[in-house]
Amino acid sequence: MLSKSQARLFFLATTGGFSLVFLGLTVDTILQVPERSHDADLTPAVVRGKHLWEDNNCMGCHTLLGEGAYYAPELTKVYERRGPDWMKTFLRDPQAMFPGQRKMVEYHFTDAQIDDLVAFFQWIDHVDTNGFPAPADLAPPAPAVASVAAVDLSAAPSTFTTVCIGCHSVGGRGGTIGPALDGEGGRRDAAWLDTWLTDPQAVKPGTAMPNLGLDPAVRQDLVAFLTSLH
């Protein structure tokens, strides 16, 4: 039967042994991380972005690399998912994008700070995470392209292809949170669309459509593009 001194030896030997192995693997990890995380791209802007990320405890709601809280979306691949323009629009007024939904704190970031945060997310996006997050393997197949006519987006204003497309689709491409905009030109006229984009809540109280505070010129471009959709 095991004696107390044998038990002590077991404790000391295993603890010592496994600690050494752990330290060895740590050294190897430290050597590999610069390449896996593209350390060369770690610009001052990225580091400033990391400071902003920590100083405002973004991890208190979001997860990054899967770590943090579960109140707000995972952000490891947000740069790929949303793109810089959408992110900048969102960060300028976080509560505007999803009206009536869960709220993010209004941080009143300056444009320079927003650029730093985007740089940080862009850097994180390129870290080799061994495949996390996994693609949604049970996702229903994308709607058959044949059911809607393909739309040439090369003429679309950039706001449309970077921001609107996050929620709306045309020609089977884009988000599903808002209605598809195929044929929008046949349903709405320019005056209505302009009023709508200026203040969606005034037209339809409680709508999920955000008031993005669009520049009048940008708004005109969007209206022109939308009325051209038939």
Partner: protein, 455 residues
């Protein structure tokens, strides 16, 4: 209780009760926010509530460990505490630093690193505080009239916990390394050296409560803490799967964290077996409930539910979802909260001379809080599995999924209310015990008061 200075533990235990109450309040704030009632958003946004909730947990558990050490180590060393005055100063400074940190969280003064939100300037005060504590208990042990395994394991656990706080204070520009070393603190605490503290406290309580020979209990203590480190050190790898660390961590972390339940199974069997073998039964039955309970619930919460999502092929979907909250709640409750409540249940009658154990209130406190916490875990589990399925596998939008799981937070709040009733009864019992009494220590020299032969 044998020594006057052990009474200092009461200060720490009372602080625990206060912090636990606050922790529960902030938990409710978050539960309601998840249900869509974020009415406090402008004053206490979610990230403030979250940092406050988790840091209160860490602080009250550490406070409990400190109280337990001030109570246990003088007895194990067979002498008064090295400096009772220093212990009181240390308690006061701990309270001050904690209050400043918690107020800071409400004023956007923190560093957003999960579990280590205390900003770096305050970290230095934490270090100074812990040094005071370690010095005091260390000198008590060194100058003691005897060295026991229980005392030494407890001390080694405390000193290692203090040392492991340091890697969390290093600044890294690279988020990957930042995360890598943050887990040196968080993981190597809760799945490493805190288990030494837990094991030592359990061992002390089992010696006191069951009358089983110290040699036998301490032999198994070595085996259990050995198993903890066999699995726990390299088990850190389960935090390194997806943060940018090399791919071999998937194998290393997967294999060794799959062994982690063994250490907790050891804790459970340890508690149950020693309680059954005990030739003598202690009058304070409720302290034995909590002691054996912590072994069993740590196995269920930390061991079993941890294993449920530790393998990389599962974890790639569950990582960063409410499944983690499910495991986290029962693990911290079973392994550490219950350990602290066990030592409080044992020490209070000794310190105050009142025998309020085995009352209906003390007994219901045990059952209701445990049933409530298991129900909370189930609510988190259902919400978490639904989230994993809809968001990670079907690819639905985050906010839509959150709407879909809202109803489970209603269940969570009901379960949490039950839990709160249990904790309320525990705290009410604590208050009824009153203050520790001086004359008691002088005459309570009989070594193990309260032991009587089993029927």
């Amino acid at each position: 209780m044998k020594f006057q200075s052990q009474r200092i533990a009461w200060l720490f235990f009372a602080t625990c009760m206060l912090l636990l109450t606050l922790q529960i309040i902030y938990g409710f704030i978050m539960g309601f926010a998840h249900m869509g009632f974020d009415v406090l958003h402008d004053y206490i946004p979610f990230n403030t509530a979250r940092a406050t909730h988790t840091n209160l947990l860490v602080v009250w558990l550490l406070t409990g460990f400190m109280g337990a050490s001030y109570y246990i180590l003088p007895e194990e060393a067979d002498r008064e505490l090295y400096s009772p005055k220093l212990a009181v100063i240390q308690w006061a400074s701990l309270v001050v630093v904690s209050v400043v940190a918690l107020i800071g969280f409400h004023l956007n003064y923190w560093e957003g690193r999960k579990f280590l939100e205390i900003p770096r300037p305050l970290d230095y005060l934490v270090v100074a505080n812990v040094l005071m504590f370690v010095f005091n208990v260390g000198m008590t042990t060194l100058r003691g009239r005897r060295y026991t395994t229980t005392g030494l394991v407890l001390l080694v656990g405390l000193v290692s916990a203090a040392l492991l706080y340091l890697p969390g204070m290093i600044w890294f520009d690279n988020q990957v390394l930042d995360s890598y070393f943050r887990w040196w603190v968080v993981h190597l605490w809760v799945e490493g050296v805190w288990e030494l503290i837990m094991g030592a406290i359990m061992s002390y309580l089992l010696i006191k409560l069951t009358g089983v020979d110290r040699e036998v209990i301490e032999k198994w203590l070595y085996v259990i803490v050995g198993l903890t480190f066999v699995s726990g050190i390299l088990g850190t790898g389960h935090h390194y799967y997806w943060i940018g660390a090399p791919e071999y961590w998937k194998t290393v972390g997967g294999v060794f964290s799959a062994l982690e339940p063994l250490a907790f199974l050891g804790m459970a069997l340890y508690g149950v077996n020693m309680a059954r073998r005990g030739g003598r039964k202690h009058e304070n039955r409720i302290a034995l409930y909590w002691t054996v309970g912590t072994g069993i619930m740590s196995f269920v919460g930390a061991g079993f539910l941890g294993f449920a999502h530790t393998l990389p092929q599962v974890n790639i979907y569950t990582h960063g979802t409410l499944v983690t909250a499910m495991h986290g709640h029962l693990a911290f409750w079973g392994a550490y909260a219950m350990t602290v409540l066990a030592v409080i249940s044992y020490a209070l009658p000794q310190m105050t001379g009142r025998k309020l154990y085995n009352t209906w209130m003390a007994e219901w406190a045990f059952w209701i809080s445990n049933i409530g916490m298991v129900a909370m875990t189930a609510a988190f589990g259902v919400a978490g599995i639904t989230q994993v399925y809809l968001e990670r596998r079907v690819g639905m939008d985050f906010l839509k999924v959150q709407d879909a799981v809202q109803v489970h937070f209603g269940g969570l709040i009901l379960a949490a209310s039950l839990f709160t009733v249990g904790i309320g009864l525990f705290i009410w019992t604590f208050i009824l015990y009153g203050l520790p009494r001086r004359e008691l220590a002088a005459d309570a020299v009989q070594a193990e008061p309260g032991l009587r032969p089993a029927k």
